[in-house]
């Protein structure tokens, strides 16, 4: 993907969507991003189904991993959402592991990162926003709108405060989606740029082999960082979802 146009770096080419699954995929606009989504979902389900197959009292490695995944997200739901958190456990679990596997799989060479597309992350954050608003309206009815006017605010300040609260509430869609998208995209651009350095400087030969080697070392370190970012961003997305759900269930 690098150094295609003689001497410029095409760091964005990696995000280009292509039809996948041959002619059938082309006819229904199934992209390689969707292939990765299927792989990620399949791996999540495989972890749970294959891992729990022994149903052992003392779990083996894979079962322990599946149980750890389950209890980690369950703990997050119970801690963050509080009372009534168990109801939202499946959706938080799916969001967390869908994003986590998407992020981590994207780090493999030639694998597409579907979380690096704003359209995908925006859809997910919009889904969370709609879910949260729906839950809030269902739990509290019209009383939900008192959320936008915190108690103890002078009446004169009310219009301004309500405006700010509504903007901050709506901006959750943007912040949630852009945070994930920008992190994943930036990481992959940097990895691509340094990989291109290695190739271009390496081809130049001679003295340029030194910076080429340094770029390679940097890329190895960056890859570790990107693993951290991939995990962290999935966690951030899930925990913010939990916090928003807490607000929806308990209104502050």
């Amino acid at each position: 993907m690098a150094a295609e146009g003689h001497s410029s770096i095409d760091a964005l080419g990696q995000f280009t969507l292509e039809p996948a699954l041959g002619a059938i995929g082309r006819s229904v606009n199934f992209t390689q991003a969707n292939t990765m989504m299927v792989v990620a979902s399949g791996l999540v389900l495989a972890l749970l189904v294959v891992g729990m197959r022994p149903r052992a009292m003392v779990p083996g490695r894979l079962q322990a991993a599946a149980e750890l995944a389950y209890e980690f997200v369950l703990g997050m739901c119970n801690d963050q959402i509080g009372h009534g958190g168990k109801k939202f456990f499946p959706v938080v679990f799916c969001l967390f592991f869908f994003i986590l596997f998407g992020n981590v799989l994207g780090l493999f060479p030639y694998f597409f990162t579907f979380t690096s597309h704003i359209a995908v992350t925006l859809a997910m954050s919009t889904f969370v926003f709609c879910l949260v608003t729906f839950v809030a309206l269902k739990e509290h009815g019209l009383h939900f709108f008192s959320y936008f006017l915190p108690k103890g605010i002078p009446m004169a300040m009310a219009p301004l405060v309500i405006l700010i609260e509504i903007i901050s509430y709506l901006s959750r869609i943007i912040s949630l989606s852009v945070r994930l998208f920008a992190n994943m995209m930036a990481g992959h651009i940097i990895l691509d740029v340094f990989a291109s350095f290695v190739v271009m400087l390496g081809l130049a030969g001679g003295i340029f082999l030194i910076p080429a080697g340094l770029s390679l070392v940097t890329n190895v370190a960056l890859f570790g960082l990107e693993l951290l970012v991939a995990t962290l961003q999935a966690y951030v997305f899930a925990i913010l979802t939990c916090i928003y759900l807490h607000d929806a269930v308990h209104l502050h």
């Binding site: 964005l12 280009t16 189904v49 799916c94 359209a119 271009m200 081809l203 130049a204």
Partner: protein, 192 residues
Amino acid sequence: MKPLRRVVPFAASLLMLPVAAMAAGMPQMDFKNPLTTSQVVWGAIIFAVLYIVASKFALPKVGAVLEERAAHIANDLEAAQASKLKADAGMAEATAAIAKARAEAQSAINAALDAAKGAAAEQSAALNARLEKQLSDAETQIARARTQAMSALREVATETAATVVARLTGQVPDPQRLSGAIGAALAARGVG
């Protein structure tokens, strides 16, 4: 020269990267491409399938195993607690029994000791009395024998003295004077 020609524009393009990214347009922002929106539709379908399979099938299975284990552990703990209570009760019972047995044994020992002491005291009192009697009997016999011996001593002394005097002087001594002198001599020796 050739490598430099390649590297310089490359470095320049690197500096321009953020600008280029915005200017060239990210593939993510290319909403004219039908794939950009279609991936979201497919993504929604895939996520829905993931959610349904996970929430209806995969996750409850994990939950069931975890609950089973928690119940098993709770049962075991309960059983252990019950056994411990039972063991504690048995222990207390045993301790009480031991204390009771010890007290009984102690009282039996005391009774036996008292009885033995009483019997021994009686026996020794009887023995003492018998010995005392024998002693006093012996003493009176001795006293009698002594007085007899003492009175015999005076006779023997008088006869001997009379004989000695008669042999030495040739005349029988006055019995009155002799008896007085013997009495004085015996009294002086403390036997009279």
